[in-house]
């Protein structure tokens, strides 16, 4: 694939303050390219240099092989369109009038009416974005999400090859966010549009972008596919918060979130065991991350009250965990409450380990707290479980 945008050691900023520093990268035709980074890292400044509205201090930006400085404003608008997050508005133009303004770069003179070509493009774009029935509605009567769709239509009737998005989904609700990004993504796939998107929402970027540029303090921290860029380590460094990722349930990208500051260590989890009817329930003041097998239903959940089991029981306690073994109508259940956080993957491998060692046990619950990570000594766990099982057999004999 050929290159549409190439930044060559670009430094830019306002006044004498340098905000982005010697950035070099390129964006291929038909690619959706995300720029991520904390506030003030230079994302928007960088975007402004692409449109020519900000002149770089040093370096060059090549749009389709030609230096951005050699484009007139008009030529640039025929290649590049911008969808910002916020639009100033003053007078109540109709949707059709606003969309038609996108033809400006192709218009000159006093009495040029919209011609057939304009009407064709405007009609097609409004059809695509489902705006036809709003054509005569004043823009200010539409909701924020619908207005953003109108401005996307205005950008698209410029017939750009490059669409720049500057946090376009910031104040939109989830359905409009996904709606807008889905439309744009389709244009990239089907019509070969190239998109550079400055996004706040890392997960949205992960879901839609082919490649991601991570910026920190005006410099490139990394560039590549979302699954390689959006690792907890990188994100923690770039955003200065403890980040955590889990795989998206349906598409092969990470979902990113963060752990609250200082959640680790400071919080002393408090939980107790309560006898309820004939079963033992773990009652905790913070939800327990729980992995369960053998009960049907979702294996992972957050539980503030976890039914540990019922019937005859034995237990082993240590500073690291509490282990219960239950026997109820011939079924053996094992419940492990870890005194600290345990990762989902670890819980799964522990349950496999236990199931291999004790084929007789058919139900497992493994639960832990958010907070400091506990590493489990597997040998000791097997020992404890074996101990519980032995006690249970002895009690059964006695």
């Amino acid at each position: 694939m050929s290159i549409l945008i190439r930044a060559d050691r670009v430094s830019a900023g306002y006044g004498s303050e340098k905000i982005v520093d010697e950035l070099s990268f390129h964006v291929k035709k038909g690619e959706m390219y995300g720029i991520l980074g904390p506030n003030g890292c230079g994302k928007t400044t960088l975007l402004k240099t692409f449109t020519g509205s900000l002149k770089p201090f040093e370096g060059e930006i090549y749009v389709d092989g030609k230096s951005s400085g050699n484009y007139s404003a008009n030529e640039m608008a025929q290649v590049t369109a911008v969808l910002p997050q916020h639009h100033e508005q003053s007078f109540s133009f109709t949707v059709k009038e606003v969309v038609a303004m996108g033809r400006y770069p192709y218009k000159k003179g006093l009495f040029t009416f919209t011609d057939e070509e304009d009407e064709r493009v405007i009609g097609r774009v409004m059809e695509e974005l489902n705006l036809i029935h709003y054509r005569n509605t004043p823009l200010n009567l539409l909701s924020g999400g619908e207005q953003q769709r109108v401005f996307l239509a205005r950008a698209l009737v410029q017939e750009p090859r490059l669409l720049l998005l500057d946090e376009p989904t910031n104040h939109l609700d989830l359905s409009y966010q996904v709606g807008l990004m889905t439309i744009i993504h389709r244009l990239v796939r089907e019509e070969g549009l190239t998109v550079i998107a400055v996004l706040h929402d890392i997960n949205l970027a992960a879901m839609y972008c082919d490649r991601i540029l991570l910026l920190k303090e005006g410099r490139i921290h990394g560039e590549g596919e979302p699954c390689r860029m959006l690792t907890p380590e990188r994100l923690s460094e770039v955003y200065d918060v403890p980040a955590a990722t889990v795989p998206h349930p349906e598409v092969p990208v990470p979902l990113v979130t963060c752990r609250p500051f200082n959640a680790a260590g400071k919080r002393v989890p408090f939980f107790s065991f309560e006898e309820r009817e004939d079963s033992l329930t773990v009652v905790s003041d913070t939800p327990l991350r729980t992995f369960r097998t053998g009960h049907g239903g979702e294996p992972f959940s957050w539980e503030k009250e976890l039914p540990a089991g019922k019937g005859q029981r034995t237990e082993k306690q240590s500073s690291d965990w509490t282990l219960f073994m239950f026997q109820n109508e011939g079924i053996l259940e094992l419940t492990l409450i870890v005194n600290g956080s345990i990762q989902d993957s670890e819980a799964v491998s522990l349950s496999i380990l236990l199931a291999r060692s004790f084929p007789a046990i058919s139900v497992y619950s493994i639960a832990g707290f958010p907070g400091e990570k506990k590493s489990i000594n597997e040998d000791r766990l097997i020992q404890d479980a074996a101990g519980c099982l032995a006690m249970m057999k002895e009690e059964a004999k006695g």
């Binding site: 508005q89 011609d115 009407e119 104040h171």
Partner: protein, 357 residues
């Protein structure tokens, strides 16, 4: 080739609006020419006007009445038409450019700037060699442009987003400041006093054909500046950043539009003095009727502004007849309350919906 059906649809709709506006203007001209100390019925006015055209004879006409119409009333009415049209078109352009429904030559301080230029010329009795009788309008236009750039500069310093209220506030401050220069010149003036005062109060009376000749070339030039930039004015409604994204050379287009509007303002002030609020009220109502598209808003505002000022002049000279009120009194009596209503609606809207700029 443009598709015929869409074209005719657009033209038909627009033609209807222009026809209505022109009928109102013709009505205003006829009424304005007919009413006065000697009332001349509309039929006779039309006959007198028609016989002014070459090759048309309109039967027997009384010479004294012909003189009243052609030499006294018609220049006065036409002056009102051109002054009103200039102010309203300038107002429409300022409002579009600054995304500000409160902008007009008067509230932005352009009128005061033009007045300082004009009063200076009268006070010092200057006539520049090449310009001759055009010294007055040229000085007024220069004053208008100067004060406009000053207002825009200060407003930018105060708030980078050029908030609507900030610009108006700066305009009013500058107006008061420039007003003190005018007062100073009045205080120091001797025999020019009457001339200055009379001129300042805003009037289209006792001016004659020479003044019509003074405003027409500037009206044509200024309007052309604005008419050629209707697309840009439309796009500016969504902010300068947005305009740049659509390929507009923002700085240059802004200069062109400000200059065009200042030419109109300066020319109107030079021939008719300080007449306020025409540029505020007229575009506002035209926009309510036809929508904000500047392709039609600017020319329709001009036509409606002309008619408005003629009617205002008719009221000014008949309401306390035989005494004549300054025309600025009438426009302010209508305009100031409208200004208030727009301001209150805006602030209410803003309180209800703080996201809106």
């Amino acid at each position: 080739m443009p598709k015929l059906s869409t074209l005719t649809a657009i033209r038909k709709q627009a033609a209807w609006k222009y026809a209505l506006a022109l009928i109102v203007l013709l009505l205003a001209v006829t009424v304005g020419t007919g009413i006065g100390s000697v009332t001349i019925p509309p039929g006779e006015v039309i006959r007198i006007l028609l016989q002014m055209l070459p090759g048309i004879t309109a039967g027997e006409l009384e010479p004294s009445r012909v003189h009243i119409v052609t030499e006294i009333r018609l220049p006065r009415v036409l002056l009102a038409v051109f002054a009103g049209a200039s102010l309203a078109a300038a107002g429409a352009a300022f409002q579009g450019l600054l995304r500000n429904p409160l902008a007009d030559p008067y509230t932005l301080g352009a009128s005061s700037g033009a007045a300082v230029g004009a009063v200076g010329v009268i006070y010092f009795g200057i006539t520049l060699p090449v310009l001759g009788s055009f010294t007055l309008p040229v000085a007024a236009i220069a004053g208008g442009i100067f004060s406009l750039y000053l207002v825009l500069l200060f407003a930018r310093v105060v708030s980078r987003t050029m908030a609507v209220e900030t610009i108006i506030l700066v305009g009013i401050v500058l107006s008061s400041f420039l007003g003190s220069f005018i007062s100073l010149m009045i205080a120091l003036s001797g025999e020019e006093l009457r001339q200055i005062i009379h001129w300042l109060m805003g009037s289209v009376g006792m001016r004659g054909w020479t003044h019509v000749g003074l405003i027409v070339p500037f009206f044509i030039a200024g309007s052309a500046f604005l008419l050629f930039n209707w697309r840009e004015l439309n796009v500016f409604a969504f902010g300068e950043q947005s305009a740049r994204h659509l390929g507009i050379d923002v700085k240059r287009k802004k200069q062109v539009i400000v200059t065009g509007a200042a030419i109109l303002t300066g020319a109107a002030v030079a021939v008719s003095g300080m007449i306020g609020f025409v540029g505020l009220v007229v575009p506002h109502f035209v926009r309510l009727l036809t929508g904000p598209d500047h392709k039609h808003l600017v020319p329709l505002s001009a036509i409606a502004g002309g008619a408005f000022l003629v009617f205002a002049d008719v009221i000014a000279r008949t309401i306390l007849s035989p005494q004549e009120l300054p025309i600025g009194v009438i426009t302010a009596l209508i305009g100031a309350p409208v200004f208030g209503v727009i301001l209150i609606t805006r602030l209410r809207d803003k309180a209800a919906n703080p996201r809106k700029v």
